[in-house]
C-alpha cells in the first residue's frame, strides 16, 4: 500500500490522468480520478462506464489516460473489469504473464447512473463473485452526460430535466438510494464514502490506497459536485463538497468486512442543511414558502442518518 503522508510528498506523484480532457471547467470527476490513480504506484487497468468521464477523456483520437484503459458500455464497467482481472489471474496461474515483475491493480469508474441504476447488476455480480478490484462511483446525483436526468442517487427536491420544478412539481420525489450500505451488505472487505476537497484530500487518497491494496471487491462512493447540473459557479466545486460534509448531507465514513463502521470525519458543529441547499440552483425553489416542508424533511433525513451512523460506530457491529 502506498504510504500517503503529506500533500507536499503526494504532489510529487507523476499524474497518470492528464489534462486536455473535455470535462466542464471545475468538474469534480477529474479531481477524484486524479487522486485515486495517484494513490498507488502499481500498474493499473481501468474500465470506465459511459458517462461524462468516459466521453470527455477519450474523444477520438485522444486519450487522457497514462494507464491501460477500456471504455465499455454504460451498464458493464464492473463486468469488464471482472473479466480483465479473471484473465490476469488465469495467466498468472499458468506463468504466462507478460510483465511478471509488475503488480497490476484493477479499478472501475462509473457515474451514479452507471452504478446506482443501470450498472448495478454487473457491480453486484462482480462483488458477489469476489473479484479483486476497486469500483469508484462518481456520484453527481444525475445523468449529467445526457442533459441531467434524475437517477436513484438524486436527492429529494432536486430539480433535474426529468423531475422539473414548476407549478405542480417540487422536483425529485424520492429519497436518495443508500448505495454505500448496499455494497457493504454484499460483504465487501472495504467500502467508503469520499469527497474531492483540499480539507479532505488525505481522506480520499488514503481510502483509495487502502481500497486498492485490499484483496477482494472494494467500493468507494465519491460525491462529485457538478457545476453544470447542480448550478453553482465552477470555482465553488470544493466548497460545495465541503458543505455536503459539514452539514452531514454526505458523511465521510468507511466500513470494513461488511460491518465495522468508522466515521472518518466528524464536523465540529453540524451546520443547517439550508447552507448546502442554498448554494445550488437545483434547490432554489425549495426556499419558496410552499416548499418549506421539503427542507424540513431534508434536515430530518440528515439528522436521522447521522444518528444512525454514530450509533453503529459506537456499537461496533
Amino acid at each position: 500500500m502506498k504510504k500517503i503522508t503529506n500533500l507536499k510528498e503526494f504532489a510529487c506523484t507523476p499524474d497518470r490522468f492528464q489534462g486536455g480532457h473535455r470535462l466542464c471547467p471545475g468538474c469534480a470527476h477529474s479531481m477524484i480520478v486524479r487522486e485515486v490513480v495517484n494513490a498507488t504506484d502499481d500498474d493499473l487497468v481501468i474500465s470506465t462506464a459511459t458517462g461524462c468521464l468516459e466521453v470527455c477523456s477519450a474523444i477520438y483520437p485522444y486519450t487522457s489516460w497514462d494507464v491501460s484503459w477500456i471504455h465499455i458500455g454504460f451498464e458493464n464497467a464492473a463486468a469488464a473489469i471482472s473479466g480483465a482481472e479473471a484473465m490476469y489471474k488465469a495467466l498468472s496461474r499458468k506463468n504466462k504473464l507478460y510483465n511478471e515483475d509488475r503488480r497490476v491493480k484493477f479499478v472501475a469508474f462509473g457515474g451514479d447512473g452507471g452504478t446506482y441504476d443501470i450498472g448495478f447488476q454487473s457491480l453486484s455480480g462482480a462483488a458477489e463473485r469476489g473479484h479483486d478490484f476497486l469500483y469508484v462511483c462518481l456520484d453527481n446525483e444525475n445523468y449529467a452526460n445526457t442533459g441531467g436526468q434524475r437517477s436513484s442517487a438524486t436527492p429529494i427536491g432536486a430539480h433535474t430535466s426529468t423531475t422539473p420544478r414548476g407549478r405542480v412539481s417540487y422536483g425529485e420525489k424520492q429519497k436518495k438510494k443508500d448505495l454505500t450500505m448496499i455494497m457493504a451488505a454484499h460483504g465487501c472487505p472495504y467500502v467508503a464514502t469520499a469527497i474531492p476537497s483540499t480539507k479532505h484530500w488525505k481522506d480520499l487518497a488514503t481510502k483509495a490506497a487502502k481500497a486498492i491494496s485490499t484483496v477482494g471487491p472494494t467500493f468507494i462512493n465519491a460525491l462529485s459536485p457538478c457545476t453544470t447540473e447542480w448550478k453553482f459557479k465552477p470555482e465553488e466545486t470544493t466548497e460545495i463538497a465541503d458543505l455536503a460534509v459539514e452539514t452531514c448531507a454526505f458523511p465521510l465514513y468507511e466500513i470494513e468486512d461488511g460491518h465495522k463502521l468508522t466515521i472518518t470525519y466528524r464536523p465540529k458543529q453540524k451546520i443547517p442543511i439550508e447552507e448546502y441547499l442554498g448554494r445550488q440552483g437545483r434547490f432554489a425553489h425549495l426556499f419558496k414558502p410552499e416548499n418549506k416542508w421539503i427542507i424540513e424533511e431534508w434536515q430530518k433525513n440528515v439528522d436521522e442518518y447521522w444518528d444512525y451512523l454514530q450509533r453503529r460506530e459506537e456499537a461496533g457491529v
Binding site: P25, T63, W201, E235
Partner: protein, 132 residues
C-alpha cells in the same frame, strides 16, 4: 518479445495480459500526439489564473484540486531531506480558467489570482494587491 511501441503498431503484436504504457517513448515519457496532454483547451478561457511565486508557500492545494492537472511541479528536497513538490508554473494549454485553484489558495494575499486573458503575466504581477 515485442516492445510496447511495437505492440501498438499492429494488433497481432499485442500480448495477452500486457500492460501498455500510454507513452510513445516510455523511457523518456514522451506522450503521443494523440494524448490529450498535447491538445489545447486554452480557448475555453476568458480569465486565466496568474501564479505569484513570491507569495506561494507550496501547500500544493492548487495541485490536488485542479481538475485539469495544470500545475507544474518540481521535486525538491526540504531541510530534513524529505522530497516535496514545489509549484513552478501553470500549463496554460490545459487550463480552462475555472478558478478552483484561486478559491483554494490559502495565503493571506492569494498566490493565485484571476486576470483577464489579454493581460500579460508580468503586468498582472505588478498589479498584485499589496499588504497595507
Amino acid at each position: 518479445m515485442a516492445t510496447p511501441k511495437e505492440m501498438l503498431t499492429t494488433w497481432d503484436k499485442v500480448q495477452f495480459g500486457a500492460v501498455l504504457p500510454a507513452f510513445e517513448d516510455p523511457e523518456h515519457k514522451v506522450r503521443s500526439k494523440f494524448h490529450s496532454y498535447n491538445y489545447s483547451v486554452a480557448d475555453w478561457r476568458v480569465e486565466k489564473p496568474v501564479f505569484n511565486r513570491e507569495l506561494c508557500i507550496d501547500c500544493d492545494f492548487c495541485w490536488v484540486s485542479c481538475p485539469d492537472s495544470c500545475f507544474i511541479v518540481e521535486e525538491v528536497e526540504n531541510k530534513r531531506g524529505k522530497k516535496q513538490a514545489k509549484i513552478v508554473g501553470i500549463n496554460y494549454n490545459l487550463c480552462k480558467g475555472c478558478g478552483v485553484c484561486v478559491d483554494v489558495c490559502p495565503t493571506p494575499i492569494k498566490s493565485l489570482l484571476m486576470f483577464p486573458e489579454y493581460i500579460d503575466n508580468e503586468e498582472a504581477l505588478k498589479q498584485w494587491p499589496k499588504k497595507d
